[in-house]
């Protein structure tokens, strides 16, 4: 039953994508209904699985009944479950927005691409196989290329070209890394690789180490870390609003892969008994996170329209999470991961919501859009301004909203780190820079309105009359943030448990490979015998 439900998380979107590719043009209303129902089903099923505690021990689904190193497995644990729930929340929000604002009819096949994107995202979060991860990356990227170019615009095309080329190069590097790992370790299953890493032949150790570094370079390209984040502000800043909101989860795929591969494959492991892997990647993550955060804060200052600022806020959150993932000092690691996950939920949901708010601004200010410049007064300026204020507080990390708590948890975990001083300095300074940038943006957007003769104050621009009900979508992420603040204690207890699950990879390994390494001689069933027959 639960096996089928977990498989449903991956296979429902792809089935819907196929159907929607056929109905998309002919029956727009039906397509909307199917797409929304699909996303809602994903949200309900994933939330039910997660809250029902099915992720407390890793659930393994062997596709086609082939056991772990031979077949492909899906693994549902708390971390992957949480990621799927987050994806579904963001998906429902941006789909509702797209349908409400009619953004989905700006080009063909919006809903089919959207579902394909969800297929790729959920697959990437659930798979336990590195090559399969590559395939799901490709699926989600190909869908995201289509979504990014949805609608039109010269700048969007230019940003789209950069995005596609950077990601194609990333995919090539991914294949090099996966190929080198397979050639030396002899497996593609994450758990199997983990078990086989200590047995790597000494002369293959440099190759394996290189392959692992290459793998993380790819993840950091997808996750938009310094120095490979420059594709993001363009792509996210010029995408249409619902697409940008959905993309709030995209960088998290890279970060999820970093966390998953680092915690399962590298923690407490060695490569061929020669290279200790626990601290192989983490220090790099920490430093890259610090640089990313600082540069992203400066990017927020430099952004000349709100969507670009939000894109840089996303980069800043990537930096913050990387700092937390880079802390490896013993028990502090659990605390750091728990804090990072809290911050992770906060930044995903709120940056999606912030993009929706930018969409509201674009509609309400026909002259200036979301450009940070003075424009004729907009309707509901007080309400929209208050929402902007709330988002800005949350994203910049001021109390009493979620960004503050996330940062406090991460900084608390960093107290024992030898790099405490630079971490505190960078996190606090960048927070200050972002506050200044957002305060400036807010005052330009909402205080310096000019009443021009053609536009007396409180005039309603065309199409703005329906604004109030639409505000609910912009308020919903803030409601999530409020719940996260009110329920901070139970949530953080749950996240502590999740962090514990992440930092004890033996649970994951036992679930996927209950019999340890299968050599051809000990492999159960026909496959082993046939293989043995072939050897002799």
């Amino acid at each position: 039953m639960t096996d089928n439900l977990i498989s449903l998380l991956v296979f429902l979107p792809v089935a819907l994508a196929a159907i929607l590719a056929m109905t998309g043009q002919r029956a727009p209303a039906l397509s909307r209904a199917i797409s929304l129902a699909g996303a809602a089903t994903l949200l309900i099923v994933s939330a039910w699985l997660l809250l029902g505690g099915f992720g407390n021990t890793a659930q393994v689904i062997e596709l086609g009944g082939w056991s772990a190193p031979f077949g492909i497995v899906l693994v549902f644990d708390r971390l992957s479950g949480l990621m799927v729930v987050l994806t579904s929340i963001v998906a429902v929000l941006s789909l509702l927005y797209a349908v409400r604002r009619d953004e989905d009819s700006a080009g063909p096949h919006f809903h089919a691409l959207f579902q394909a994107q969800l297929f790729g995202l959920n697959g990437a979060f659930l798979t336990g196989d590195l090559f399969n991860l590559f395939v799901f990356f490709e699926v989600l990227l190909l869908a995201s290329y289509g979504l990014l170019l949805h609608g039109d615009g010269r700048k969007r095309t230019r940003a789209g070209f950069h995005y596609v080329v950077v990601n194609l190069i990333g995919s090539t590097l991914f294949l090099f890394a996966v190929g080198a790992l397979y050639g030396t370790v002899g497996s593609l299953n994450l758990a199997d690789i983990t078990l086989k890493l200590p047995q790597v032949a000494p002369d293959a150790v440099p190759i394996v180490t290189t392959a692992i570094f290459l793998l993380f370079v790819v993840f950091l390209i997808k996750g938009a870390a310094f120095p490979l984040y420059l594709w993001l502000p363009g792509a996210y800043g010029y995408a249409s609003i619902p697409v940008a909101a959905l993309f709030a989860i995209m960088t998290k795929v890279g970060l999820y892969s970093v966390l998953r591969v680092d915690s399962v494959m590298l923690s407490g492991n060695t490569i061929g008994g020669l290279v200790e892997t626990t601290a192989l990647i983490a220090p790099w993550l920490l430093w890259l996170g610090l640089i990313t955060l600082l540069l992203a804060a400066l990017g927020v200052v430099a952004g000349r329209f709100l969507r670009r600022q939000i894109a840089y806020l996303i980069v800043a959150s990537v930096g913050t999470i990387l700092i937390a993932l880079g802390l490896v000092t013993g028990s502090e690691r659990e605390l750091a991961i728990s804090g990072a996950l809290y911050y992770w939920i906060h930044t995903t949901v709120l940056s999606a919501g912030f993009f929706l708010l930018a969409g509201l601004l674009i509609r309400h200010r026909p002259e200036a859009g979301d450009g940070i410049e003075a424009a004729p007064p907009m309707p509901h300026a007080v309400l929209v301004g208050s929402l902007f204020f709330a988002y800005a507080i949350a994203m910049a990390g001021l109390p009493p909203l979620t960004g503050f708590f996330g940062k406090v948890m991460i900084l608390a975990a960093a107290l024992d780190s030898p790099l405490m001083a630079p971490i505190f300095a960078v996190v606090l300074t960048s927070g200050l820079i972002m506050v200044i940038a957002l305060a400036r943006a807010g005052s330009r957007l909402f205080y310096q309105s000019q009443a021009t003769p053609g536009h007396p104050a409180h005039a309603m621009p065309r199409g703005a009359r329906t604004a109030l009900p639409g505000l609910a979508l912009t308020i919903a992420p803030l409601a999530v943030a409020t719940v996260m603040v009110v329920g901070a204690q139970p949530l953080s207890d749950w996240l502590d448990g999740t962090a514990q699950q992440i930092t004890t990879p033996s649970g994951y390994l036992d679930a996927v490979m209950p019999d340890g390494i299968l050599s051809p001689e000990t492999a159960p069933g026909k496959l082993g015998q046939e293989y043995e027959g072939g050897k002799h």
Binding site: R158, G160, V165, I169, S171, L175, F176, G183, E530
Partner: protein, 123 residues
């Protein structure tokens, strides 16, 4: 000897691909991506080790080739092929929308009027 030849080939393909990807016009970039994907496909293929006269059927001959890299390379070829087709269309769209084929879409004054491509200003 074959190993050396194949390694050199992978190196040359990837190197040429990287060089072309760093060019400023979209067409060389697309070519570069294609060459890089050729390089990585060959690389994946050789990760199953090079055997002569060894089919990927277990038990058919003394030594059997590893079938998995062949499956991987097939997947990679299909994906790379689709991506190339997509990126070419995107490059054409960018050429049409931006009026030139610079990767940043930077408008070069008078570029439209230059008929002889050799005289076109270098970007």
């Amino acid at each position: 000897m074959t190993n050396l030849a194949i390694s050199l080939l992978i190196g040359v393909l990837t190197g040429a691909g990287v060089y072309l990807v760093l060019r400023a016009q979209t067409f060389p970039v697309v070519l570069g991506l294609t060459l890089m994907s050729y390089g990585v496909n060959l690389f994946l293929f050789t990760m199953g080790r090079l055997h002569t006269a060894a089919p990927a059927v277990v038990g058919a001959t003394e030594q059997s080739a590893d079938a998995l890299p062949q499956a991987l390379v097939l997947t990679a070829i299909v994906i790379a092929f689709a991506m190339t087709a997509f990126v070419i269309v995107l490059a054409l769209k960018a050429r049409a929308a931006l009026g030139n084929d610079h990767v940043d879409g930077t408008h070069i004054p008078q570029a439209d009027r230059v008929i002889d491509r050799r005289k076109e200003p270098r970007a």
